[in-house]
């Protein structure tokens, strides 16, 4: 029991660790659910691009507000995400450019712009850039937590209410059109939900590691589930549990929390992947 106390209870006796725990579990669940759409629709590149594209907005908010204020970061990130999406939409209009090319151009430009803005402020460049890129979950304030709660509640509520419509446009957009559902509006809404999730996750893992939160638990869940809502529940559970576990490991090994969470998720993915493969091979051997 002492062992358990030292391993689990003692770290969470600190207020900053309690807030970090709430943040990683909340964000793990939300990005686990939204990440299922990213995985089944093959939108990883969009997810990665979106998480990097919010950097200039975050950088400006960071410098203007003089540090990490959750509200300012959220608004800055949202504005930059919107500009990037519109830019990508404009470049691909009328098939002037392939979508992945347009995403690539806008995403790296926005990323470079963000780093350029931060580099104009020596203090921010030296210290805070690391937080923006890789997350600063231990520095989360109560006000940041409220933003995460709000974003997560919004995203999860929309998924719950529009589950069947989002499922249809992900599986067979033509069916949506024959039923005269607004397919394009749903596609844009899904992109917006992904963007909100990314911005809410910013302080947990940072822009550089964000993609892992979206796709690793979902990819693991896809191997275990045969129905979309089951996949979402498994992915949310994996996201939350891996987040908490990664946080705890980072505390004991004294390493940064963001990378620790990502590596924990990847390890769990590898375990599930191996387990599923082994079971598959055993079943095949039994059939012979």
């Amino acid at each position: 029991m002492d062992f358990f106390n030292e391993l689990v209870m003692q770290p969470f006796s600190y207020a900053f660790m309690q807030r970090a725990l709430m943040a990683v579990v909340l964000i793990g669940i939300t990005s686990g659910v939204i990440g299922c759409y990213v995985v089944i629709r093959g939108m990883s590149f969009y997810g990665d691009a979106m998480s990097h594209s919010i950097l200039p907005g975050v950088a400006i908010a960071y410098i203007v507000s003089g540090g990490a204020s959750g509200g300012a970061l959220f608004i800055g990130g949202l504005a930059a995400g919107l500009v990037s999406s519109l830019g990508i939409g404009w470049l691909t209009r009328g098939e002037r450019l392939k979508e992945d090319t347009a995403i690539g151009i806008v995403f790296v430009a926005m990323y470079a712009l963000g780093i350029a803005i931060i580099s104009s402020d020596q203090r921010a460049y030296g210290r805070d850039l690391v937080h923006i890129l890789f997350g600063n979950v231990l520095g989360i304030q109560p006000s940041d937590l409220w933003i995460m709660v709000g974003c997560s509640a919004f995203v999860l509520m929309v998924v719950l209410l529009l589950y069947k419509e989002l499922q249809i446009i992900s599986f067979d957009p033509n069916l949506a059109l024959t039923m005269k559902l607004p397919a394009e509006a749903f596609r844009l809404m899904l992109l917006a939900l992904i963007a909100v999730t990314i911005i809410a996750s910013l302080q947990v893992v940072g822009v550089a590691l964000m993609l892992a939160m979206l796709i690793v638990p979902s990819a693991a869940a896809q191997m275990l589930a045969k129905r979309l809502h089951h996949m979402m529940m498994i992915s949310a559970a994996l996201g939350g549990v891996c987040g908490a576990l990664g946080l705890l490991i980072s505390y004991h090994l004294d390493i940064a929390a963001g990378p620790s969470i990502v590596l924990t998720m990847t390890a769990v993915f590898a375990l599930i992947f191996t387990g599923v493969r082994v079971r598959f091979m055993m079943q095949r051997a039994a059939h012979r």
């Binding site: 589950y163 069947k164 419509e165 033509n174 039923m179 045969k226 979309l228």
Partner: protein, 259 residues
Amino acid sequence: MQYLPALSVIDLAAGYPNDSRAIYDVTFDVMAGERVAVIGPNGAGKSTLFKAIAGIIPFTSGQISQGGLDCRSSHSLIGYVPQQNQVDWNFPATVGDVVMMGRARQIGWFRWPGRHDWDEVRRALALVSMERAMDRPIGQLSGGQKQRVFIARALVQNAHVLLLDEPFNGLDPAAYEEILTSLDRLRADGVTVLVATHDMESATTQFDKLLLMKRKRIAYGDAGEVYTAANLKAAYGSRVSVLQDPDLGTLIVTDEHAH
């Protein structure tokens, strides 16, 4: 009302102007319960026609009506079964989930399916003899079974007109027969079925009417009217020959480039 065609297409033009699959001058009427084969070479615009009727792509001119009503004002009455390669079969959904997608409109906004909806799904699956596959992942089914599940999905949409885009591609004869059996059952309910196909021979025996097209309508009617040397030459050039069998009186059409 019963004398109005179930589906009426008048002077239809659809597709993007510089698209080689754009269609124009397509006119035909189908009565309730009739089964029509839409034939023509690759790139003839069969998919474009179906997508325009289903409302997936807009049509540039002409008129499409169902039972005398303009299609743009009706909901869910046309079921579209896409070509196999249009769908991601690794999607995490069971057979029941896929069919349930067709009921989204009846279930209504912001709601999840209830017991009544699952009963409807089961009933539709029974009509295509797939009720026992209800809980199987969609990706595990064979090509013919997937087609039948999609037919069931169109049925729960309450579709009166069903469009199947090349459902027989890559199917063995048994799977082909099973799809036809399912379509036979729909005929009794007055469901009108249009099938795009490359199989010109079965089109004569299994369908009431044929629509031969190559970007525009070349001929529409029964096999005798449609399979004339002049029509086939207009559609396929010199790649198809027409032979009359004097003993059986049947028409034999050979497609040298058959798939």
